[in-house]
Amino acid sequence: MSSSIESSFVKQLQENQNLIHKICRLYTNNEDAHKDLFQEITIQLWKAFPQFRGEAKFTTWAYRVGLNTAITLFRKKKRTIDTIEFDNKIHRFNHEEYNYEEEEHIKLLYQAVQQLNDIDKALVFMYLEDKDYTEIAETLGISEVNARVKMNRIKSKLKKILNP
């Protein structure tokens, strides 16, 4: 691929890298695995870039490739690194009103989401990203009605994990 295409890709990816970090955040639990997944998503995005015609937004297209990589293509390496430090770094509150109790609660929520299976995480991810059910259903390849039903089940599942 020519260098202008390469630089256009790198620029767009650099600007939208938080999207990939967020996927990595849900699908990995330590810094090295996060980096590995980030790299694999980048490679897959680059490989699929010739198919990106600019009809959809870069982010919409990147969501799909990113999730596909996290759920299906990425091969996790076995690691036994402590995740607490990483979790604390990622969950840090940066907005003005700091609330210890709320922060603890959010941490627990993230931990609960981590316990979900790969498919449930994908639904949660798109829900957190404020995607509508049409897009969630299209991305996963399921019907919109079933996406809604599944989302309600995930909410109950999370409630159960948090209040056993």
């Binding site: 890298q17 790299q39 490989k47 799909r64 929520l109 996963l140 399921i142 909410k155 948090l162």
Partner: protein
């Protein structure tokens, strides 16, 4: 407000402290090798095709093959060779066709289905090859039985000693053990390699199918 909405609030409001990846680092990543499951499936599948192809070439120069040629049974051996190459061409074409359909821009369910379909083509190829090997073995054992002088002598000897049944039993056991070892080796290979490689994919695909059930 339910739990997930609280999380959504935080997810969108907070500036999560992700490490910033520079353009230079991204350029570096583009030239790194992928370690995706599809790449491994491709490598293993091509190795499997190559294995059977190399095996058939290797068998061509085998002393046993020369001996079979001396039986002058081309009307059996030539159709068997034609079938064997037909099998390779048919499955390799299907494998390539399915492999080309795998794209990370597809929806999650289709992507998984296409990967599994590609994989299935190779397992079917192996399955057909095993059937082919079994048929060939039966034909070979029969050819030897009727043409090999040593075997014919051994048969006459056992006939003279009234041991024809034990001769047949020995012969059949030999055939079964040979084929059995082959099937066991292939089964072990599948359990170990593909069990390890595709476990997560199967689990996720089943989970996704359950949603739409």
């Amino acid at each position: 407000m339910d739990e997930l909405d609280k999380l959504k609030n935080h997810w969108q409001k907070s500036e999560v402290a992700f490490p910033k990846v520079s353009e230079k680092e991204i350029y570096g990543m583009l030239h790194k090798k992928s370690s995706s499951v599809v790449k491994w499936i491709l490598i293993l599948s091509i190795a499997e095709f190559a294995f059977w192809l190399v095996l058939s070439f290797f068998l061509k120069d085998n002393p046993n093959t020369k001996r079979i040629e001396s039986f002058h049974m081309d009307y059996v051996t030539i159709p068997l060779s034609v079938i064997s190459y037909g099998i390779i061409i048919y499955f390799f074409y299907n494998f390539y066709k399915n492999y080309k359909k795998i794209t990370a821009t597809d929806n999650v369910k289709n992507l998984m289905a296409n990967i599994l379909k590609t994989r299935k083509t190779v397992s079917n190829y192996i399955f057909v090859n095993i059937i082919y090997v079994i048929i060939c073995s039966v034909v070979l054992f029969a050819m030897y039985f009727y043409n090999d002088e040593q075997l014919i002598n051994a048969y006459h000897q056992s006939e003279a000693h009234g041991n024809v049944i034990s001769f047949y039993i020995m012969y059949i056991i030999m055939a079964i053990v040979t084929i059995g070892i082959l099937i066991l080796a292939v089964w072990l290979f599948y359990k170990l390699v593909y069990g390890f490689l595709l476990k997560r994919l199967y689990r996720n695909y089943e989970e996704l199918k359950k949603i739409d059930f």
